[in-house]
Symmetry: D2
């Protein structure tokens, strides 16, 4: 398939590589062109404008940083959405808000364009190793057409509904659950440290209970207080909790744990931690307990 691909960042770059490997033709646009350049050797065409990537594409994949980038690119002044052909599928793969997803669905519907939301689970290394998990929703027939793309990118997919925004809410809810695990580990570790128990030993106990790589990997970072380099920046964690709070407000669903995390992330930002790994939220629980 001929794919227009917008966004060749930490996640987009390895995803684009896997699409190329699977035999798809890619026209890639990235705001900082240099970041996309290495993909040319892998067979992609790196273009200088969004419209070059979009015109004539059968599929448009967006893997952009946040709501603002997606809105600006698709619906902004030089609205890429109008350059997209009527039967081309837009697959929105970044983590965006429920509101923007609904807005995109409306705009695509007005133009008769099929639209699928398919945010992914996994960090850059999982993207590189084709181990992403895809959370997709949209019209069944459209999703069926996306299967080869999903197969090229990950180890499996969950189809959560027929409204694109449902995939976004599922992604937001999963990220919330993960953030809650980090915060819980952080509070527990503060108690453990003040009890003069070695955090590494506590993590051994935690692993015996959960038997999960997520707890194991983050547990190690928290125990060792090793938050750099950031796998996922703390500022993005705050953004994701904000998406959960926005979704919960619109749906009238109290989420007290999201409120707790918002405040811990804010305190982390207030103490200059926005650029380290988001598991550094655990440092706030420690600080609040008088640990340094």
């Amino acid at each position: 398939m001929t794919i227009g691909f917008l966004g060749a960042g930490n996640m987009g770059e390895p995803m684009a590589r896997n699409l190329l490997r699977a035999g798809h033709q890619l026209r890639i646009f990235n705001r900082t062109r240099a970041r996309a350049a290495p993909l040319e050797e892998a067979g992609a065409r790196v273009v200088s404008s969004v419209s070059e990537a979009v015109i004539g594409a059968e599929v448009l994949i967006t893997m952009l940083a946040n709501d603002d980038a997606v809105r600006e690119t698709l619906l902004g002044v030089s609205a890429a959405i109008d350059a997209l052909s009527g039967d081309a599928i837009h697959i929105s793969m970044s983590t965006i808000s429920v509101r923007l997803s609904k807005e995109l669905a409306r705009e695509h519907a007005r133009r008769g364009q099929p639209f699928v939301a398919a945010p992914v689970l996994g960090r850059p290394d999982a993207a590189a190793e084709k181990r992403l998990w895809i959370i997709a929703s949209g019209a069944r027939a459209t999703i069926a057409r996306c299967t080869p793309i999903f197969d090229a990118l990950g180890r499996g997919a969950s189809i959560v509904g027929e409204q694109p925004w449902q995939a976004n809410v599922a992604k937001i809810a999963v990220n919330f659950t993960l953030a809650a695990a980090l915060e819980a580990m952080g509070e527990a570790t503060a108690l453990i440290r003040k009890s003069d128990v070695e955090p590494r030993v506590f993590m051994e106990v935690l692993n015996a209970l959960f038997g999960s790589l997520v707890y194991e990997n983050y547990g190690r970072m928290i125990a060792d207080r090793a938050f750099e380099p950031a796998g996922f920046r703390l500022a993005l964690g705050l953004k994701d909790v904000g998406l959960a709070l926005d979704a919960s407000r619109d749906a009238a669903v109290p989420m007290p744990m999201a409120g707790v995390m918002r405040d811990q992330f804010l305190s982390a930002v207030a103490h200059g931690l926005e650029d380290v790994d988001w598991s550094a939220i655990s440092e706030i629980a420690a600080r609040n307990a008088g640990l340094t």
Copy 2:
């Protein structure tokens, strides 16, 4: 070894069986004698008083319901602690408070009796299948003497410190982390349900992320709203969160998530849910969102 064993409940009964299988001699006391009776066929001597179980034992294992039961039995009117010989090890295996553990340590020290706290991770089925994880602390030499017992009961042990109460704080901290996972799943599921996504599909996504039996099993209960029979009663969940709050107060460690869970468990109790499984804490998030 000759073991006095107090408490043959859901957990104590299968644990006693495994000790018998490993060749130890057991004198078992249970307040409701009938509950312990089946263990006679397995080779135990079921006795009618605490002192019969304790006198002459090389090891005393307590697996009682809560602080009150332990305090009453060991330190109460007919103080069993005084019937215990001077070199017999008391292994306290139930989930008790840090305060009581410290009190027991003091009382045993006064009598020159070695004392180990060794609470366990795992539900009754894990106890039956020798898959418990033991969290132990106490003097190194004493713990070394306990190894055959730990081997007979579980799949492994973490030695967390030399002060018995440190094992209790670790157990309390782990339970807190587990309860936090339940609450987070509950809040996420409320959002998911109000978004017309099938909870079972959401749990598929959660499993793709965590790859943990804990999330898988509890996720199924929450998705299906199947809280009976209770594997672990909600009232005990409230008790455990209370232990975390007590420990965190004594150590001056703020734990905002424990506060959130306390309130959710209290609301569950106020709505008559104390006897169903503690994963029913998720019903409170649903109820607060107007779901029924």
Copy 3:
């Protein structure tokens, strides 16, 4: 002075009357013209478009419902801001976000127009009785020119800074403090009711402590569970807590109580209480305790 006045709602109407009484000339625009009609008898000119109200005015007062209304009216398609003369002062008196206030300041600055934010404390009855308290900020000289207007509207004013948005943040912070008092009264009353103490008697104790009309009036509503007619709609309370959360996020200030209130208001909305008085947040504390 010649004043363009936008918004003749519950608050705007009595405020306009007081300005007329003080001898000012008013050109009033209200989206629903009929609402403004009675002001004609009081001497105002009721106009049919924003621009008619704005052109030639020495002062523009906005008392509109929310951010959207202000943004639409001032900066929207038929941007009223461009119809405003270069030395006319815009006094923004409604409760708007810090972000919008900053945006307005920028837009006015570009046009060389003086801008003052002056949100007010008080409900419609206070507005009618000239008992509002005005929270103002902006350039000192500009505020000095507004004095006759503030004098006509209220019993006093606090000048909180030279940046207009500082008045908005102060208003948001005060409303937050008030909402916190309501939530605290609600939680306390739930405990009191479950203890079989008469809420009215509890309010007597509260009044003995605080000696504040705010506690007295809201306490009576909460004790009697009399939430209609709404003095201030619960949906607006949720909006105001949202403004506090937005401001606190932008300033990186954790505000855990704002998070608690957000969830209680959301639960109230989920249970159909958005149109009753915001003191009905107390019903959620009662409901969570199993009271009906």
Copy 4:
């Protein structure tokens, strides 16, 4: 009346003076005898043992520091309760837990002794100036007999029920409401300070809203960050929030704001603030926002 008076601390000392002024005969016991000595000049008999104060008294007033002191003194080894005559009224005036109040009621009932709980609102200066507010409960006839004492101590009383513990729960609930006001002021002030608004000006706005001496006095302390000398020690604030949490647990009433305050007070203790005024809880909101 002949009154046995236990506890001549910050509050008890001025209360005892007012009882002497009203013509009552007092036998006062204080653990640190020297503290009570000045009361001898005022006409009291300062005694060296609890029993000397209790034997023969018509009324026993306890104004002791906390639950432990009350339990120890009344029910401990040399149980003062047994020295009290059968028709002497015990008026428990300190802030104690609901549980202890119920226990005292049971013990007094067994001995046929009338029992009234009558905790007071007000700080030492209010006690000196006879401006306390008394929150009383107990059998009506018994309370009627206490009226001269209440009249001698304060400016009024609320009779909240016929069960003594109901007065304790009312006192605990009122203190909770006050603590919530402090925390709310603290969070608001952190936002205000980060917005470069002068806290004193913000307090002016707050006073315009609440018109309450409580807000005025505490607002000044928070704005000026003047927490010494302590009018009410922060450690006592944590204790009082703990009483609210205990009462709410026993009554199954979620109180999320109490949870928030618990954590803020704990963080304050972790940072060495237990001996300054409890309004220093506001320092934690500031610290969490990165202010120093």
